[in-house]
Symmetry: C2
Subunit: 220 residues, 2 copies
DNA sequence: GCTTGTTTGAAACAGGCGTATTATACGGCC
DNA sequence: GGCCGTATAATACGCCTGTTTCAAACAAGC
């Protein structure tokens, strides 16, 4: 087996393990076992577990030299549509079961940063934040100060992040049937978009009776 | 030293340690060291680290037999005021530095439940959820289905939770000065209330020019 | 074919962990 | 006082961790 081959195999095995268990709980033994390489290989190729972690994050971000293009849309799209696409991508990222391990790793870095690679993580999230702020630029009047724009952005992202970090809470606060029926990716994205657009004033508020609503059977 | 005395000392030492480091990273050696008791005491009094953890959570919830009354308000208060009080309490809980370790432990249980005490955690958060749903009952028209009310509640809580779970992200996305000036507990509570009330339709949206705004200097 | 530098393999090391064991000191009771 | 159940203390055990060691297998150059 060629030299770079085993290196790659270690990286590809390390990704899911780190993503699932976190840095501390992941063991180099499991990584090596999954990769089918010897235990010593990690320290031979990477020097230490920590360095392997850093390089795994880099590898995940950019496996072949291609940047991952987060989200794109036609530049002339309506701001509401851009926001919709952004939120849909966000929710999909949070709830998508087959989330590639790279996203999961990044999320772990949000929740409890290891500090091993501030820069990398920072760049990643700053890009997405700027994207959202750009959309808000087209919606908000210019006199709204930056701090308020940031707060609004956080309010939008926070709604989506909730379903990832508090998924266990959701799981026992709303029962299985309701979850299946109303808490899928699409419905949540639609709700968060509704909530946010209403907050921004582009939709009527959720509490005001909405004439266009299809008449669902009233709850007893 | 009396028997119950050391028991209490262990519990009170275990609280902060578990809260700061989490179940796995916390060690009984540190707990015993902080409590000034022998290493064997934990297993003597609690049988195992896990059981100590469970009893620590219970002890934190209810140290002396008094339930912690989460939040109260006059029953005849306006729904907006109740929501304001609720959100203020929420944000204070999330951001308050001197958060008693019990809150922190509960938050940890949200983010990564140990499963050691589902019931306890479940009761705790269901109570708060019901409180919020009660407030929404007074705001939303009756035909809004339960699932939508729950989504709205999660949208509100999610905004506040964000600043706890993603505090590191906030820290490098908005610079020190801005944070000091606009991301304190009071300002964030005010913003989340604004955003949510606007989303509900009780306030004008944030994007529509608000006549009552005090004219702050425009940003260049 | 031999030498040289590199990669693999299995085992061992040192340290930290939760837990168990054993022995000592305390405090009320006959 | 002597005794005994209980609380403390010190230490040892077994396990798992990241890391190191060192010999064997290998590829390449001459």
């Amino acid at each position: 087996m060629s030299k770079d081959q085993t290196r790659r195999r270690i990286l590809e095995a390390a990704g899911p393990v780190f993503a699932e268990k976190g840095y501390d709980a992941a063991t180099v033994r499991e990584i090596c076992s999954r990769a089918g390489v010897n235990l010593a290989a990690v320290n031979y190729y990477f020097g230490s577990k920590e360095q392997l972690y850093v390089e795994t994050l880099q590898y995940g971000r950019d496996p072949e030299g291609q940047h991952d293009q987060p989200l794109t849309w036609p530049a002339d799209a309506a701001p509401e549509d851009k926001l919709r696409l952004f939120i849909e991508g966000l929710v999909r990222q949070m709830l998508g079961e087959r989330a590639p391990w790279h996203r999961q790793l990044m999320l772990r870095e949000i929740l409890q940063p290891t500090g091993a690679c501030r820069q990398l993580v920072e760049r990643h999230f700053r890009a997405r934040m700027d994207q959202l702020l750009g959309i808000l630029d087209e919606i908000l009047p210019p006199e709204v100060p930056l701090s308020r724009r940031q707060q609004i952005a956080f309010s939008i992202v926070g709604q989506a992040l909730y379903y990832r970090v508090a998924s266990e809470i959701v799981k026992f606060l709303v029962d299985e049937d309701q979850r299946q029926a109303h808490f899928g990716v699409d419905q949540l994205a639609a709700h968060i978009l509704d909530f946010s657009l209403a907050a921004l004033g582009l939709h009527p508020g959720l509490a005001v009776p909405r004439p266009e609503v299809t008449h669902e059977p009233l709850e007893p």
